[in-house]
């Protein structure tokens, strides 16, 4: 397939520039392979995160020709190789170096979600029985590989930098995973409304479009959670009920 040019963001913190590299590409290569080749031949200090090289760990998120993607799952043959391929770090998080961003905020945000709290075991042997179809409803959200690509495209975080007010789509997916767990009996709706800012989401669905796990983030996770919040806090009947009998 010959030589291809890559323009890769190099820099630390607020400073940086695009650097051009040429590398020989062969059939079946993905973007991460090209990055590795460049690292091994021309730029041994090029910073990049990766682990599984199979779309399973969510480490290698970046923007490829402006599209947020996993580098290990983006085949070169899907890109226009006649023009330079542009590789940049995610934009919603502070840059550490080159393609590596500081995603520690995500770990903090996740911690704010109340953990799983199971109901009492319902079977005589002290365990639980669950039906496959109930399990499947929550399994969709449990596929999340924490790549943060959805966080990266959500305008609330990316453009408005409201990281303090809004936990972002990835963690609404996480909340949905707990809330729709057949055994869970924690209540997270107040937190969703007040601490985690679910109201900031205006259902643009950009997050859903980039999810490499094809999780229907907006329709299946965020909207049902929004409905829970509405039911609990804005439904007039329930509200009245709450006044008399606070939870």
């Amino acid at each position: 397939m010959g030589q291809v040019t890559f323009k890769i963001w190099r820099g630390e913190g607020d400073e940086g520039h695009f650097e051009e590299y040429q590398t020989e590409v062969s059939e079946g290569m993905v973007v991460l392979d090209a990055i590795h080749a460049i690292q091994s031949d021309d730029a041994s200090d090029l910073a990049v995160r990766w682990n599984c090289k199979a779309g399973k760990c969510g480490s290698c998120s970046a923007e490829i020709n402006g599209m947020p993607k996993l580098m290990c799952m983006t085949r070169l043959s899907s890109l226009d190789l006649d023009n330079p391929i542009i590789i940049e770090p995610m934009k919603a998080f502070p840059l550490m170096k080159d393609l590596v961003t500081d995603v520690s905020w995500n770990y903090e945000a996740k911690k704010s979600i109340k953990p799983f709290k199971p109901c009492k075991p319902d079977a005589p042997d002290g365990t639980w029985r669950m039906q496959q179809e109930d399990v499947e409803r929550a399994q969709e959200f449990r596929k999340c590989i924490e790549c943060y690509l959805c966080q990266n495209v959500c305008h609330v975080l990316r453009d408005h930098h409201d990281h303090a007010e809004y936990i972002g789509p990835a963690f609404l997916v996480k909340t949905a995973a707990f809330e729709m767990h057949p055994l869970d009996e924690e209540n997270r709706t107040l937190d969703l409304k007040d601490e985690q800012g679910i109201g900031y989401c205006n259902i643009t669905k950009c997050c859903t479009k980039v999810c490499p796990e094809h999780i229907t983030i907006t329709d299946n996770a965020i909207i049902p959670l929004k409905e829970r919040v509405v039911d609990e806090f804005y439904d007039p009947l329930k509200k009245l009920f709450r006044i008399f009998k606070p939870k």
Binding site: E12, S26, E27, G28, M29, V30, D33, Q39, S40, S44, D45, L46, A47, V48, R49, W50, N51, C52, K53, A54, G55, K56, C57, G58, S59, M73, R75, M96, K97, D98, V100, D102, V103, S104, Y107, K110, K111, P115, F116, P118, T127, W128, R129, M130, Q131, Q132, V135, A138, Q139, R142, K143, I145, E146, F178, H181, P182, L183, D184
Partner: protein, 604 residues
């Protein structure tokens, strides 16, 4: 002298945040110990996340004839009786409890019709035994442990690599390393240290393992004077991707065969029906129909030969390729699409049972596995060998130093059964955490001289401080070539000797490794520092492989192709002598108690 590093103190320090490290951390923390966890990558990205097929535990939810004794006997047979039988017993007894505990922490496994945890077939397991979530069981496991662990008051130090252990007398009392972001140095003083760093797959060229698998824990323990055992036993998984070249080695889960996938050669023949090993003849189907019956849950049927142990399947594929009957890119065909002969909506069925395999092949190889066969061949996958530990407590042969998970050895003997790793992580992770915490409660922090640590800082900085030298990536690549060619799936004395000579040369070259750039997130520098570990494990592997003049499990000698009686009596140990050279020794296999021997006989 001023300190060129930052210090933390913990009762228990855990190195590694895969399934084993996280389970150990949770346990240690639950006893009230202060616990720190360090890991090379971000939390939740460790190798465990990649595990696909499931974790083995004899809960008997699908076949009620299963119980811990059968699991124990299967594990011993799979390991060709070189296993530490005490570990195999503990593992088989405790695995079920650990799986249920994971469920209580929120893991959501696939279910049986009665609503219990569903269990699937896997190679070498007599009954369906693997609790699973489609083909992403590892993700479920690591996420559950992670989400539980972050609320237990454990300190996580992400993207920190430990490079040295420090001792006070004969006891390990601290770990030293660097953090990736700024290249700052860290000292973790601890009363007990648990190594849970995983495997060594990066010593080979074709591997299912990530950059992290440079055998760090193995080398840390070795350098600290601990014994490594069984290092000749490496598992080459029979089914890695072979095409396109850039994905060579990426794993294709055994679950494909568990769900009915068959192996064929270029002549369309199901070659696994030939050469079934004697230990397994009585339990293996000899015709296609029976094999399929087994897959669909017929309790009377024997398992198809594709589900024989990994060492055997891998060698059979190599044999077909060598005989000129391989697939176009030098592998065999793995076909799951054929089940359409038996199942109506096979396309939906396959996508549901093997979703990530479907995506992996669609996106990386443009193959639709519901319609076409995959091309597969052996890939370096798992190391049975590792740090020698006490079965009960997981303490190594050095005081205060514990190990669990893939970097510890004993449970799997000469060959690991699929699914026995994830359960291993939980069972022995818990034990390591428990006993490390107990050890910590009975001692004080050790003494470490600032000068000693500052010297480590200086040494670590050599590759970035040099102004010229060799590219560390090239040294790593050369080592990987050597190991792949000379110490891989087939070995002989001459080649192993050559490998050892070359490893010596790479060791010399590694002292000139040069990483341009600064200390901040500099992968060239990290690669240079990892070289030492790769060299240690490679050398240990070669010496152990030379020592074992027979073929068994994951170890195949072309010059000694048969199994010997003598070979079943010893394990191979390597350790560091005072002069820094490597010593190899045969130690007697841990004797089986009468009770255990009776169980093995009963379930032969």
């Amino acid at each position: 002298m001023t300190e060129r590093f930052k210090t933390h103190e913990y009762d228990v320090l855990i190195i590694g945040a895969g399934g084993a490290g996280l389970r150990a951390a949770i346990e240690a923390s639950s006893t009230g110990a202060s616990v720190g966890v360090v890991c090379k990558s971000l939390l939740g990205k460790a190798h465990t996340v990649m595990a696909e097929g499931g974790m083995a535990a004899s809960m008997g939810n699908v076949d009620d004839r299963d119980n811990w004794k059968v699991h124990f006997a299967d594990t011993m047979r799979g390991g060709q009786y070189l296993n530490n039988c005490e570990m195999a017993e503990i593992h088989a007894r405790e695995a079920g409890e650990r799986v249920l505990e994971l469920e209580a922490w929120g893991a959501l496994f696939d279910r049986t019709k009665e609503g219990k945890i569903l269990q699937r077939n896997f190679g070498g397991h007599k009954y369906p035994r693997l609790a699973h979530v489609g083909d992403r069981t590892g993700l479920e496991m690591i996420r559950t442990l992670q989400d539980h662990g972050i609320h237990q008051g454990i300190d996580f130090h992400m993207e920190v690599t430990v490079t040295n252990l420090l001792k006070d007398g004969d006891r390990v009392v601290a770990a030293f390393g660097y953090e990736r972001e700024k290249g700052r140095f860290m000292l973790y003083k601890a009363k007990a240290i648990v190594i849970a760093t995983g495997g060594i797959g990066r010593a080979f060229k074709v591997t299912s393992n990530s950059w992290e698998y440079t055998g760090d824990g193995h080398a840390l323990a070795y350098d600290a004077g601990a014994d490594l055992i069984d290092m000749e036993f490496v598992q080459f998984h029979p089914t890695g991707m072979v095409w396109p070249p850039s994905v060579r080695g990426i794993l294709v889960t055994e679950g494909v065969r568990g769900e009915g996938g068959i192996l064929t050669n270029s002549e369309g023949k199901r070659f696994m029906f030939e050469d079934v090993p004697p230990l397994y003849v009585s339990s293996t189907a000899d015709n296609e129909e029976e094999g399929w019956k087994y897959v669909t849950g017929d309790k009377e049927a024997n398992r198809p030969p594709e589900l024989l142990t990994r060492d055997h399947v891998a060698r059979k594929i190599v044999k077909e390729v060598k005989a000129g009957r391989g697939s176009p890119h030098g592998g065999a065909f793995l076909n799951i699409a054929w089940i359409k002969e038996h199942i109506k909506d096979s396309e939906t069925h396959i996508k549901k049972k093997l979703p990530s395999m479907y995506h992996q092949f669609m996106e990386l190889a443009e193959v639709d596995i519901t319609k076409d066969p995959m091309e597969v061949g052996p890939t370096t996958h798992y190391v049975m060998g590792g740090i020698r530990v006490n079965a009960e407590s997981q303490m190594s042969t050095v005081k205060g130093l514990f190990a669990c998970g893939e970097c510890a050895a004993g449970l799997h003997g000469a060959n690991r059964l699929g699914g026995n790793s994830l359960s291993d992580l939980l069972v022995f992770g818990k034990r390591a955490g428990e006993f490390a915490s107990k050890f910590a409660s009975e001692c004080e922090y050790g003494n470490i001289g600032t000068n000693e640590v500052n010297a480590l800082v200086t040494e670590s900085l050599l590759p970035v401080d040099r102004t010229e030298g060799e590219n560390p990536y090239k040294i790593q690549e050369d080592l990987q070539e050597t190991m792949q060619d000379l110490a891989g799936i087939s070995r002989c004395d001459e080649e192993l000797k050559t490998a050892i000579v070359r490893i010596g040369e790479y060791a010399v070259r590694s002292t000139t490794a040069y990483a341009p750039g600064n200390r901040e997130y500099n992968p060239g520098w990290h690669t240079a520092l990892d070289l030492h570990n790769l060299l240690v494990v490679s050398e240990a592997l070669c010496y152990s492989a030379m020592q074992r003049t027979e073929s068994r499990g994951g170890h195949f000698r072309s010059d000694f192709p048969e199994k010997t009686e003598e070979g079943s009596t010893y394990n191979t140990v390597v350790r560091r002598k005072n002069d820094g050279s490597m010593e190899v020794e045969r130690v007697p296999v841990i004797p089986q108690s009468d009770e255990m021997r009776a169980i093995i006989e009963e379930y032969k």
